[in-house]
Structure formats: C-alpha cells, structure tokens
C-alpha cells in the first residue's frame, strides 16, 4: 500500500499475500460489473473519475466506462444527491459516492425529505444508492470518522446496508443497486484493505434484510455489523479459549432489521451483547433491545443486555483517545465475560 493509495490508510492490511480480494476491490468489482451489465447504472461523486475516489474504490472505472457514466462533480452534496434522485426517477440507477460518510450531513435534507418520502407520497420509486465511507479507528478526527447509520435508521423510507465481509461488499452493493428503494450503503473504511477473502461473484446475491450468523455458539449472542464484525469474531476466538461459546450475528442491514435471526439466537443463548461503532444513545442497538423487550423474547433474557458502543462524544482524533473510543476486542471480551458470569 503506497501512501498515495489512500486518503487515510485503513487499519494495516492483514497478510496482503493471502488469496482473494480486499473488501475495497470487491466494491470496485461490483461497480464495474454493474456498469458493464446495466446501462442504467451511473456513478456520481467528487473526484471519483480521474482520481478514482479518495479511497480509490472507483479507480479505473472512468477510463473504462467514460466520464459520462462515471462522473466527477463539484463539491456540492445537495446537488449531487438531488441529481441522483432525478436520475433515479427518470429510469437510471445512480450510485453516489460521498467522499466521507460525514458529508451526508450536507445532503440530509434531500435524503430525508425527497428520497425517503416520494414513494409513500406518490408511488414513485427512488432507486438511488449512496455509498458512505464510514467509521473511525484511523485517527481521522471528528469529521472523517462518523458512523451516521443510526441517524438514518430512524427515517422511514430509507434502507440502511452495512456490509462487513468481502462477499457482502460485493453482493450487498449489487443488491442495493438492484433494489428500487433509496439505499444508504455504509461501507467501512477500516475494512477496505484489512479484509481480504476469496470472492465468488457468481454466488446468488442475497437480498437486503437478512442477517447472517457468522459463528455458532450457545453461551451468548453477540449482535453486530460493519466494522465491528472482525473484532467480535476475534473476541469470540478469545472467549472460546476460555470456554465461552459466542454466537455472532451480523445484521448486514439495519433497515430492514432482521430481528427474527437475533431473537432465534437469543432464545438459544439467553444472553445478549450488542456491539456497534456508532455511539450508543438512540443507536440501532437501542432499537434491537426495544423490539426484543416488546415481545416475549424478553423472557429469554437471563441477564440484562449489554451494549458495547462508542461513548456519546464526537470522535476524537488522537489515536490514544480513539483507541478508547472505538469498541475494542478487549472491551467486547470483558462485556461477554461479565454477562456470562452474571
């Protein structure tokens, strides 16, 4: 990885000699395949053309598909997202890249008031995808590290997708583009180059709205998504060595929320830990707990639930502070230990 290759280097690439492709390459392949297969697909964003995007996700795509389909824009998120909405209702399948997920604040109005409500109001479908490079652990500070997915999970009319694996980076991006609804696609900067695995591009594309059980275990259920999945799996390994068997559920999308998979798991383990990088209060973890507590899944709980999340603060820039901010393997392990001991 050259210093030129990224804006912020993602967490140090693990064993780049391993077979397979990175999470980032899987995203690029999905976009290339979509552009090649479907004339309706257009890419819009700041610096996605010549430069291939701040993270190089779209590298090479403008050369291959032309500036007309892989289109550089001025710095104007409201115009970009509005434009995508207009294209979408004209029959195109626009995919917007925000340079950082943080800049979604500059197109919030178009997303929440135009895109999210048009189908409910007038039956006009808005098939846009907004790719949001999210998350921290890169010392990138309060404005290049945010996890806005919790905000948008509150807004009816939007779908929220958060891929955690190489295969999902590919498959869920395809599913998002094929979906007729507006999809916010929170891809994880920290996973861009740290995740590498074989990609089966021919595998059937899983629809949006199904969680995946990434690890079986009977002692405790850990529900997570996105950047926290590798940490939860690492925690599960460590816990296994201590004799605690952790079931790890990867939500994959927050809206739709696959509560059945969570509840099924909980009924087997009777203990629940929720892990997300987004800050805790009113995050998706709260909604999961609330839905469970509204049903008789409540009675399956042998102990209080536990949310392991970022604290309710902006994202600090100093690595020392941020290390304490983003949930660590250590924190996940202790939370599970405490719960299982309870």
């Amino acid at each position: 990885m050259t210093t030129e290759a990224t804006w912020f280097a993602s967490a140090s690439a693990e064993d780049t000699a391993a077979p397979g492709v990175t999470y980032l390459e899987a995203l690029r392949t999905a976009l290339a395949d979509l552009l090649a297969e479907d004339e309706r697909v257009l890419l819009l964003g700041e610096d996605i053309g010549t430069m291939g995007g701040a993270f190089r996700v779209t590298a090479g795509l403008q050369d291959r598909f032309g500036g007309d389909r892989v289109r550089d824009t001025p710095m104007a998120e409201t115009a970009i997202v509005g434009c995508a909405i207009g294209l979408a209702i004209s029959g195109y399948r626009p995919v917007v890249e925000l340079q950082f997920a943080d800049f979604i604040s500059c197109c919030y109005d178009q997303l929440v008031n135009e895109a999210a409500k048009l189908h409910y109001r007038f039956g006009i479908a808005v098939p846009i995808v907004v790719r949001c490079p999210s998350g921290g652990a890169l010392s990138a500070g309060p404005f290049h590290s945010q996890c806005p997915e919790g905000i948008f999970a509150h807004v009816p009319g939007l779908k929220i997708v958060c891929p955690a694996t190489v295969q999902d980076a590919y498959g869920l991006l395809r599913a998002a583009v094929e979906d007729p609804d507006p999809v916010l696609f929170f891809e994880q900067k920290a996973l861009y180059r740290s995740q590498k695995a074989p990609l089966d591009a021919a595998a059937p594309v899983a629809g949006i709205g199904r969680a995946a059980v990434r690890r079986r275990g009977e002692d405790v259920t850990v529900v997570t998504y996105g950047s926290m999945l590798p940490r939860c799996l690492a925690a599960a390994e460590r816990l296994a060595a201590e004799g605690v068997e952790t079931e790890v559920v990867d939500l994959r999308s927050l809206v739709p929320l696959d509560l059945d998979t969570v509840a099924d798991s909980l009924r087997r383990t009777n203990r629940l830990v929720i892990v997300h990088e987004d800050n805790g209060s009113s995050g998706i973890g709260a909604e999961i707990v609330a839905r469970l507590a509204e049903s008789d899944a409540l009675y399956a709980l042998d102990a209080p639930v536990c949310r392991v999340t970022a604290p309710d603060t902006p994202v600090p820039s100093s690595p020392l502070l941020e290390e304490r901010y983003v949930p660590s393997v250590e924190r996940i392990v202790s939370a599970v230990r405490a719960l299982v001991g309870a």
């Binding site: 001025p74 207009g86 294209l87 135009e114 007038f122 009319g157 779908k159 609804d181 629809g207 509560l259």
Partner: protein, 379 residues
C-alpha cells in the same frame, strides 16, 4: 369554447398540437434565441412579441387556474375545506406562459403558486379537487395535500414544502434528458425567497457546469411570506446573478403571458439545441396573502393597488379584445365554463371515496420482497 375565435380544444393536452411546432412559433416572431448570450440580461419588457397562435390556450389555462383557486378559496372560507390553501392569483401568466409550449417529453417542476403549470400539462380539475379533499384516488392518495402534488405520468414532479428542493432533483431530470439526446428539457420554478437557499445555488451552478437542458424560472412576487425582497437580497435584479454562473439570464414582465411564453420558449429552444440552462426572473406580485390564513397586512395597499391594474388575465383579455380576437361575451363564457368545470370537479371529488386508514403503513418502500417490517402500530 365556441365563443373563442378559433376552435381550439380545451387545454387538457396542450403539447399534442398535431404539427408539433407550437413551441417555437412564438419565438419565430422575431426574438432569436441567439440574442441570449452568456451573461446577457434582457431588459424588462424587451421581448414582448406579437400575440401567439396559441393565445386561446393561454387564456383558457389562466382562467381555469383562477376559477379553480376561487372555488377552493370559497370552500375554505365556508369551512368546507381544511388544511393549507396557497394562491397563485395574479401570477398565472408565469406558469401558464412558461409551460404551455412544453412537449410531452419535457418535464416540469412547479412551485406552490403554479397550478397553471399542472393544468398546462393536462392535470384535470378533478385531480386537483381530489387532491385538496385528500381522496383515495387523488394523485397522492391522501398522503400529501393541496398543491404539494404532481402527476408524474404527465411529467410533473410533485413538489415538497422545503423550498426549492425540486431544483436539485431537476438536475437529475435534466441530466437524464441530456443523456437521452431527444431534446427534452426541464422547467424548474421557484420564488424570490427560494433564491436565498443553498439548494438554489448548488443547482444553478451544476446546471451551468454541465450545460443541462434546464430552464430556471424565478417568480419574483416581491415577498417571501412577510419578507420583502429588499430584506432578501441586495441585487437589483435576480437575473443579474446569471453572469456569475456563466449562463444567460433575462428578466421578464411576469404578468405578460405573451412575453413569458416568448422568453421561456427561447430558453427552451436553446436548451433543446444543447445550449444549456437559462435563468429567467419573472417579475410579478403576490396578490393574496402567503396562504389563506394570512391577510398580509405587511404589504402596502398602494403596491397591491398598482399591481391590480396589471392583472395578467385582464391585461391579456384586453389585448385580445383590442386585436379583435375576443369579445366580452366570449370572455364571460370562458369564465363561466371554467367556473362550471371547477364546480363539477368539486362535486365529483366530494363523492369520491376517502383513503382506507388501514392502508396507512403501505407503500413506504417500493420493494415488497424485502419489507422493512414497519413496527405494527400497537394498541
């Protein structure tokens, strides 16, 4: 309609003129599209042209728009209509003049005083009343109200309250037209107040950079709610902003339907030819309050009085009468006919079914295969 001196049909589908040439005809009267160069600002009134061939359509649309709004107004005052009622009275020349020459494959993004634009695109009085009465078969099926609607199949984008949020969307509509290469154009309307917003600027700038087939029409009616233009911007004419974006800008008397049509047709023609966007400031006056609840005491009476003399329908009718194209009886008949259509539409809408409350949670998403499982309403 037979009172009118030509036998043209009512304006339910104005673009379906058999020869398809209507859009450019007024322009051919002398105002060459080449007269609009980037940065140029046309002085007010300079583009007034001869009475166009589609004069009866223009008159009928303006009269119908006013008749519908009058009926709505009465209903509201009688307590038979609720919610919000926003009037375009006095401004009809702008949406009508701008939209009358659009083609079926053009798209229109009206703002909240542009009932005439809906009608010019073929939206029926019935649809309007169904919408105001929140009926099940209204364009929004009761989910949105009043003029915050649009019949998309007729190329009209439903507006939202946030102003001018249709404008960024219009960028994409226009980009689609540009890609399709068939010469389709997009008209986007907003008020003077909307020019203060960031969305307005982002739209104008991107339209300019990409040379999109977009006609940007600012209806300067002197006020944003209670706020006079002097408290909104410091430039004498909003059209003077166009040079700062590198696009043509022009100012027009918004109460002169002929001038509006001539200028907008020119801008449309330029956009069809790949000449990019034009910014048009149509100067007019909001003759009613901001909405029906607002008696607009903040507007000086003299201002209203002066503009009352310049009513776009009266003015155009007088011109037609002077030209021998229309007489008093024909005008009266046209008005009666419009009032009747409005009344009939209201009666039809009254009898139409209301939406089923049980369907409240349907249709949030288009994809039924991945239902978002909205939480069932409890209790």
């Amino acid at each position: 309609m037979s009172h009118l001196s030509n036998g043209s049909s009512p304006p339910s589908a104005p673009w379906s003129a058999p020869d398809g040439s209507a859009p450019d005809r007024a322009t051919a009267d002398g105002a060459s599209p080449d007269r609009l160069r980037p940065g140029e600002v046309t002085p007010e009134g300079a583009r007034a042209t001869a009475i166009p061939d589609n004069w009866s359509q223009l008159l009928a649309l303006m009269v119908l728009s006013r008749a519908i709004e009058s009926r709505l107004n009465n209903l509201f005052l009688q307590g038979r209509l609720h919610g919000r009622l926003i009037s375009g009275r006095g401004q009809e020349a702008i949406p009508v003049g701008a939209t009358a020459t659009t083609r079926p494959d053009d798209l229109v993004c009206p703002a909240h005083r542009d009932l005439g634009a809906h009608l010019a695109r073929g939206t029926t009085p019935e649809e309007v009343f169904l919408q105001y009465l929140w009926r099940a078969d209204s364009p929004s099926r009761g989910r949105d109200g009043d003029v915050h609607f649009g019949v998309w199949s007729r190329g009209v984008l439903p507006m939202i309250s946030h102003l001018p949020d249709s404008w960024p969307v219009a960028l994409g509509l226009a980009l689609a037209k540009q890609r399709q290469g068939a010469g389709g154009v997009v008209l986007a309307f907003c008020g003077d107040g909307a020019t203060s917003t960031g969305s307005w600027h982002e739209t104008v700038n991107l339209a300019a950079v990409w040379q999109l087939p977009l006609v940007l029409i600012v209806e300067n009616n002197q006020y944003a709610y209670s706020t006079p233009v002097s408290q909104q911007f410091r430039v004498a004419s909003l059209a003077d902003r166009a040079p700062g974006y590198g696009i043509p800008g022009a100012r027009v008397d918004g109460n002169d339907v002929v001038a509006v049509q001539a200028l907008v047709s020119e801008a449309i023609a330029a956009a069809r030819r790949g000449g990019g966007p034009t910014m048009i400031e149509a100067v007019t006056m909001r003759m009613d309050g901001h909405a029906i609840h607002d008696q607009a005491r903040y507007v000086p009476t003299e201002l209203l009085d002066a503009w009352r003399q310049r009513d776009p329908i009266e003015g155009f009718a007088a011109r037609l009468q002077a030209a021998g194209l229309l007489d008093g009886a024909a005008l009266a008949a046209l008005r009666d006919d419009a009032a009747e259509r409005a009344e009939r539409a209201y009666q039809t809408a009254l009898e139409a079914p209301e939406p089923d409350p049980a369907a409240l949670t349907e249709g949030v998403y288009a994809n039924p295969a991945a239902p978002a499982r909205t939480r069932p309403a409890v209790g």
